[in-house]
Amino acid sequence: MTVVIGFEGSANKIGIGIIRDGEVLSNPRRTYITPPGQGFLPSDTARHHRAFILTVLKEALEQAGLKPADIDCVAYTKGPGMGAPLVTVALVARTVAQLWGKPLLGVNHCIGHIEMGRLITKANNPTVLYVSGGNTQVIAYSERRYRIFGETIDIAVGNCLDRFARVIKISNDPSPGYNIEQMAKKGSQYVELPYTVKGMDVSFSGILSYIEVRAAQRRFHTFIILLLSLQETLFSMLVEITERAMAHCGSQEVLIVGGVGCNLRLQEMMGVMCKERGAKLFATDERFCIDNGAMIAQAGWEMFRSGQVTELEDSWITQRYRTDEVEVTWRD
């Protein structure tokens, strides 16, 4: 039996989760939500995490019904992400690891998403679409690496959505992407927006500039038409590059992970594409799509069981950490 606790705080969510051999024992989380029109800045986010992390840690242990002695390993997000929040969380992880006398494991955030997705959905060897506020990648496993087949060449799709939400002052509660989804549902009209797919890669900065200008010009009497068109265009691009990767790898499974993966329209569109190819779609709900501690625990569990450990002097954090930098020692 192996019990791992995972600490996640690379963006505006602070989450701590405990996993015992594939069972999620607890997964509490807090989100730093800014007023409409504002994004979250590193120092404010770190302050938020500092204020809540010990409470969330207590909740994680209590909800799991465990004591520190029951933990086998302390996993934390090594990166990628925002510097100040990452440091805050790593500091607490290092401290408890030393206090409790447990080994530490620095985990790649993206791999946390992938491993959680694999655990929850039991997908065998899927083409992974990882889409969030900070990342947009199409990943497939090959020879001990999670290889990036396609990605954004500028901003992440979630970033595009979040920034547009700020421009038109949509509420960030519970998340800007969620509110965009609800508003877009009310729309029916579509307007053509720039569509940029370059091979297996995508680009979103162009479409963002385009709609920011259109919104400022007040071309349309509600924003709903822009929001609907934006989702349709962005998601079509994502489905397209995923399909390309599937065709290239001969894959019959798709797994969507990351905060934007909560979007039901994206899931619907991916589902239609999969059906037409005879492939299977796997997705998780907001508990696991959105950044959470258990996903770090799960990746940590895999790494720990395959013999990895992070020494204290190597337990730094990094803002840039490519998914393909990690050697996936727990798969062949």
Binding site: A11, G79, G134, R145, E192, K198, G199, R244, M270, Q319
Partner: protein, 236 residues
């Protein structure tokens, strides 16, 4: 366009042999005007909004045909375009009989032991040359992968012919940025499909540099684009 004509191509395809369903289109094999033909059908993507789907599909059909013709005029091997139906977005192309993809060639060369290095080096050299010629024509392929390059055996038994296919994402541009991105797309596809071939790809680029008249600006852009991927903030 008369209603009756809309049914001609779909009916034709019903008799044809479906070879594969790629990401973009269904590919059929048939005989057209007495020649072995590949029909590329861009079928409607139901996950897309219908207006977006029609615009995109039409644009890609037109761009593909235009790019192929431009390449052929410049002496680059690409399939002959026999016929295009713009209502059902079907392109009738010459079938490159007996060909294999560069992807399969590399994979099998890596398995075998005999002259592996030599074979792969020679291939990289040739690919670099062909791409240089294409970019000098200001054709951006847009989807360069080793699955989109074919080797057609020569009837006389000499070196096989390197044929480019799948110009679905192609467009015309003189910008070094676009050519750099085109090579970047190939590099990513190359290295992710064929692990541990960094040196081979360098050989390809060297050959490209030597063969192209406008390569230095392009390679400079390629280096910039490579860095972009690395430097990007990855929050969330």
């Amino acid at each position: 366009m008369a209603r009756e004509n809309n049914m001609a191509v779909p009916e034709f395809l019903r008799e044809a042999e479906l070879l594969k369903q790629g990401a973009e289109a269904r590919v059929y094999r048939a005989e057209f005007l007495g020649r072995p033909t590949i029909v590329k059908e861009r079928f409607p993507k139901r996950y897309r909004h219908p207006a977006l789907d029609e615009k995109l599909t039409h644009r890609r059909t037109v761009q593909e045909v235009r790019a192929i013709l431009r390449c052929r005029r410049a002496g680059i091997s690409a399939p002959v375009v026999y016929f295009v139906d713009y209502t059902c977005h079907c392109i009738f192309l010459e079938e490159i009989v007996g060909s294999s993809t560069v992807r399969d060639y590399i994979a099998s060369a890596q398995q075998s032991d005999s002259c592996k290095e030599l074979k792969l080096q020679r291939l990289a050299e040739r690919v670099g040359q062909v791409l240089a010629k294409m970019h000098d024509e200001d054709v951006i392929h847009g989807d360069l992968t080793t699955s989109n390059m074919l080797l057609r055996p020569s009837p006389e038994g000499g070196e096989s012919d390197l044929v480019l296919i799948d110009f679905g994402l192609s467009y015309i541009s003189a910008l070094p940025e676009d050519k750099g991105v085109d090579l970047y797309v190939l590099e990513k596809a190359f290295l992710s499909t064929h692990p541990n071939t960094e040196e081979l790809f360098e050989k390809l680029l060297k050959s490209y540099k030597a063969s192209s008249k406008k390569s230095s600006a392009v390679i400079k852009k390629l280096d910039e684009v490579r860095l972009r991927g690395r430097k990007r903030s990855m929050v969330g």
